[in-house]
Symmetry: C2
Subunit: 225 residues, 2 copies
């Protein structure tokens, strides 16, 4: 295998980011990785606790080549990452979008169209106040673009209760499956329907809070969605 | 903390399944856990490789109190689980549904409405042919209920290329957030819209494979979705 260097356009593959199977689906393209990350806001964060794996769903945000996750200062992974001087917490952060259910004539060739990104690295506490504030804005704006500027910023007490971890986008890969089923030639005449059922994440009409004054306008960043 | 025993209605909480925060969102209710698992088909499977966490998206199926995942016999987690006589692979299997984006007046109280299930345990190879066949049917039917019986079953060669892992539902918890934002009383008069943007997974019209005869009817299990 030829291992390319990281370039402005691509991440450098490593032992951990080259899959053992379906290698043709793997990509290290920076723009593709960013687009998959930016379309989502919930990741699955894996870490090791007492030798065993733990996988928790959590929000994330991206600023350039850095991902941020946050949580209560009392939460497990954030405590485990230690302070700014500590070595940090080895993590694997994975984001997956499901785009379609792939129905083949054979049970064996059933599949899913998806786009995923897997990031390996070490998560560290963010202590710099400017970076922390930018990270928290990015977390809100990742979920609802434009919302950070249209809400009350965190106050000192809230900032003190919030831990922010940063993970560099360095050891990272995307994996993408698209298209129809890959049936065996001898199965094509079988009488089973074959194709793709598209899947999408959709948004309903905004539901105002019970205590929201009735004349409060719905912001454009919600109605656009 | 009072630790209840497992009952027909509930899983027994353990150190790993009692969260360090937002305990009021945790549940061990068996029916709730099953309903969250049965609504999904993509999980995030975590395991430890060379001391570091790995989180990969993969399909799963449920049969009673057992979850099944499958893959190529050459894939990493399936190789690492070893044979039926081996001790198996410690895993954490997590399923998450996003139900809404929760917009509070304050950036700090932004949240997500979600339902998740986290399963800790040891994944083992399934070698019994009857259990393997049932597991593979469950995997297909979990994605598209009714499809396993309406496709060509796996042949001997395909079965030999497929590894199936089983994970008992024993150390398991659900976590659920519902409802509107929890704003601070002093923030209620702020001029920001506040409420929930509902999120759902939706399905488009089935797209037939390029090589599907035009007169092939779309099965009812797809049009119902």
């Amino acid at each position: 295998m030829t291992v390319a260097s990281a370039t402005p356009d691509a991440y450098q593959p490593t032992d951990r980011t080259v899959p053992t199977r379906s290698r043709e689906r793997a990509s290290y393209d920076r723009e593709l990785v960013h687009s998959i990350l930016d379309e989502g806001y919930v990741c699955h964060l894996g870490f090791v606790r007492d030798g065993a794996p733990v996988v928790l769903p959590t929000l994330y945000g991206r600023v350039g080549e850095r991902l941020y996750v946050h949580g209560s200062t009392g939460s497990r992974p954030l405590r485990m990452a230690g302070g700014a001087e500590d070595p940090g917490l080895p993590v694997c952060l994975t984001v997956t979008h499901v785009d379609g259910l792939v129905l083949a004539r054979s049970a064996f060739h059933h599949s899913i169209n998806y786009r995923s990104v897997v990031v390996h690295g070490t998560a560290r506490q963010v202590t710099d106040p400017t970076e922390r504030a930018a990270a928290l804005d990015a977390l809100v704006d990742h979920v609802v673009p434009g919302r950070a500027a249209d809400s009350r910023p965190a106050n000192a007490k809230e900032l003190a209760a919030t831990a922010v971890l940063v993970l560099d986008l360095a050891e990272v890969s995307a994996k993408v499956r698209t298209g129809g089923p890959n049936d065996e030639p001898e199965d094509l005449a079988l009488p089973y329907w074959s194709g793709v059922l598209p899947v999408a994440r959709t948004y309903g009409a905004p539901v105002p809070a019970d205590d929201l004054p009735a004349d409060t306008p719905v912001p454009a960043y919600l109605t656009r969605r």
